[in-house]
């Protein structure tokens, strides 16, 4: 017998794109087209600083979306991110206001998010309750904590914070902020973790088929708890970047951010059912959201709510694309 019927796939033609990369490439194409439209319509758009500003304005969103990518890759969801971002900013502002040393504040702020994430992960894993409900409770909890700390916005005047916020790192004519470097570092670490560590590969395996992952002897419970902890950590970092950006902690800030992050992750080509997607895609997804925002700002006549409508439309298009790719696979 020959092996031909089984190895029916011949060598891949160079132009044939692997199916799992179709969504990411679609996002990339979309991003380039939108940027092209911007450049052709508005002269100021071609300024490189516009690109840098995308990163400056969306650095915290990018970090949070990276954490969400981990969770969604396992097939879960984390609704608590927006509230955890706000809580982290609130705690930092409040502690700084009380004169606590900035280094200590940073440490505490970075511990709160992962702790909450760890707790949620444990409830999800040990009691087998849907992530949706558990992280919803986490969202309520963190938002409640914000107002419990203070019902009003707390300004930050600490020297370390203000210098981190105002420090401009020059790149030729243009500049970025500390936050951008932090965000890009998070992206790099996350991409490495997902591609080159066992934890990362286990995340994909669980998203592909949790039952199989269990039977193959992978640490499913530990990995699931880990992704919620990672998401908590990313939210905490995002919270600190946000407090750099606004130099304050406000109880009602970042409301609805979980939707933006989920949208960025999905537009970035990650399957909401888990198992497929890249951090790089998420980066593109965040940039797409940023460009939409920038285009609407540049236009001036378009109002801000068009952002939401366009994001909704993009979500629809990408979910449909995912579905079609999924069908073709079968």
């Amino acid at each position: 017998m020959t092996t031909t019927p089984l190895a029916a796939r011949g060598p891949r033609a160079w132009w044939r794109v692997p199916q799992r990369q179709v969504p990411v490439l679609a996002t990339l194409a979309l991003l380039l087209v939108m940027y092209g439209i911007g450049v052709s319509q508005y002269r100021a758009f071609s300024n490189i600083q516009v690109v840098f500003n995308l990163f400056i304005d969306n650095g915290f969103l990018l970090v949070v979306a990276v954490g969400m990518t981990f969770v969604i890759l396992t097939g879960g969801i984390d609704l608590s991110v927006g509230s955890v971002v706000a809580m982290t900013a609130m705690v930092s502002a409040s502690l700084l206001n009380d004169g606590v040393h900035p280094a200590l504040v940073l440490l505490i702020a970075l511990l709160i998010g992962p702790t909450l994430g760890f707790a949620m992960g444990c409830v999800i894993h040990f009691f087998d309750i849907q992530p949706f409900i558990v992280t919803l409770a986490g969202m309520f909890f963190a938002r409640g904590m914000c107002t419990w700390i203070n019902t009003a916005s707390i300004p930050i005047t600490d020297g370390f914070w203000t210098s981190a916020a105002q420090e401009r790192i020059r790149i030729g004519e243009n500049f970025v902020t500390v936050s951008v470097l932090v965000a890009l570092a998070v992206v790099a670490v996350a991409a490495y973790t997902l591609a080159y560590t066992r934890l990362g590969r286990n995340v994909y395996a669980i998203g592909g088929n949790q039952q199989s992952a269990l039977l193959m002897g992978l640490p499913v419970g530990r990995t699931k708890i880990a992704v919620y902890t990672i998401s908590g950590l990313c939210s905490a970092i995002g919270g600190i970047l946000l407090s750099f950006y606004t130099l304050s902690g406000a109880p009602l800030i970042a409301i609805g951010m979980e939707l933006d992050t989920i949208a960025a992750v999905v537009i970035g080509g990650t399957l909401l059912t888990g198992g497929s997607g890249y951090v790089f895609g998420t980066l593109l997804g965040v940039l797409v959201l940023g460009v939409i925002q920038t285009l609407i700002t540049f236009d001036g006549s378009l109002s801000s709510w068009w952002t939401k409508i366009v994001i909704g439309g993009l979500l629809f298009a990408f979910i449909l694309l995912q579905r079609l790719v999924g069908i073709r696979k079968k």
């Binding site: 409830v123 409900i133 558990v134 309520f140 938002r143 939707l259 059912t273 109002s303 409508i309 979500l315």
Partner: protein
């Protein structure tokens, strides 16, 4: 009737027992804090009192949660209800605001009809994505959750549309037969949904689809139509809730109307004993769940705690209720009791021995 059996069973085993306990404890706590809490008085032929307020304020949530119950019973979820409420409220207010006579009953009714019709279309959109294209409900409705919010703002042009229409205002704050009109609407819709599901075979068919989709298909149920229908019903309920919320303040704010109501509604349904996995649904439980959530909010207000802090309590309630209902949690803490697994399993195994 099944209630007879339920009465005979230990009271604590009833699915409404824990939700009712929570509700009673909340009411008791309020009464201790403020003894006049329970009093209801009749002024100018209209009932007033904290209890009445709680029911009146929970009316929109009850409406949304009713629709959500049906969606969840089919094994789905509808995240878009808040946005649908915002869109329909905005459309109604926009139409009324453009009328020369805002107090014209005809104009108000037309406004309601237009907004309601569009809400039905939005529901059908959700239904087609879920039943037609086969997208997971949570994802399919996420689209409208995001885009609908923008749509609502588009309709109001990002402004808050303020109207001055007595008939419309009545929906939110009016009275009829001594009761707030909102309560009457909520009651009417509850009755309507109850009749729709329990007087027809819809309820049973929904439960069959949510309980075992494949078995339902093999019994000849056209589950797609049913799925489509529940999303339409959910949107219809959300629309009425949207009217009520905007009528309450005589204005439509595309950004704020129905914000997070989907989360509260899901919560109410889950507290009421309907499983997120689908199957049996309990409208009475859902209403108790909605009342718990509103009582919580009202109590926090009454005790002069910041309203946002309600969320802390909500978090505790969500986790407590979900843990109590989670089989894995029960198993951990009820080891001494015999496992509640259906007795059919061992029995069948035993019988498999017999044929030889």
């Amino acid at each position: 009737m099944s209630t007879v059996k339920a009465r005979l069973a230990p009271v604590t085993g009833h699915r409404l027992f824990w939700p009712l306990v929570v509700l009673v404890v909340l009411l008791a706590a309020n009464t201790v804090y403020r003894p006049s809490f329970l009093s209801v008085e009749l002024k100018n032929g209209q009932l007033y009192g904290s209890l009445i307020d709680i029911v009146r304020l929970s009316a929109p949530l009850i409406l949304v949660a009713l629709g959500m119950s049906l969606v969840i019973a089919t094994g789905g979820i509808d995240l878009s209800v808040g946005s649908v409420a915002a869109v329909s409220g905005a459309i109604a207010c926009l139409y009324i605001s453009e009328q020369p006579d805002q107090n014209s009953l005809g104009a108000v009714l037309t406004a309601l009809a237009i907004a309601f019709g569009i809400a039905l279309l939005l529901g059908a959109w959700n239904g087609i994505l879920v039943a037609g294209i086969g997208i997971q409900p949570i994802i399919a409705t996420l689209i409208l959750m995001v885009a609908g919010r923008g749509l609502a703002q588009l309709i109001t042009s990002g402004q808050i549309i303020t109207i001055n229409s007595e008939p419309y205002k009545t929906i939110g704050v009016g009275h009829l037969l001594t009761l707030p009109f909102a309560i009457i609407i909520a009651l009417a819709v509850t009755l309507l949904v109850a009749v729709l599901t329990r007087r027809t075979a819809l309820g049973m068919i929904i439960e069959a689809v949510g309980g075992n989709a494949e078995a339902s298909r093999l019994a000849g149920i056209r589950s797609r139509r049913i799925t489509l229908l529940v999303y339409v019903v959910s949107a219809a309920c959300a629309a009425i809730a949207g009217f009520m919320m905007t009528a309450n303040v005589s204005s439509a704010d595309g950004n704020a109307v129905g914000l997070w109501v989907e989360l509260d509604a899901i919560l109410a349904v889950v507290i009421g004993g309907t499983s997120l996995a689908g199957g049996r649904f309990y409208l009475s439980g859902t209403i108790v769940g909605a009342l718990i959530i509103q009582t919580l909010t009202t109590s926090v207000y009454a005790m002069n705690i910041d309203p946002q802090t309600t969320l802390l309590f909500k978090a505790v309630v969500v986790i407590a209720v979900c843990l109590i209902q989670a089989p894995a949690f029960r198993a951990r803490f009820r080891r001494r009791q015999a496992p509640t697994a259906p007795p059919a399993a061992p029995v069948e195994k035993q019988k498999e021995q017999v044929p030889a």
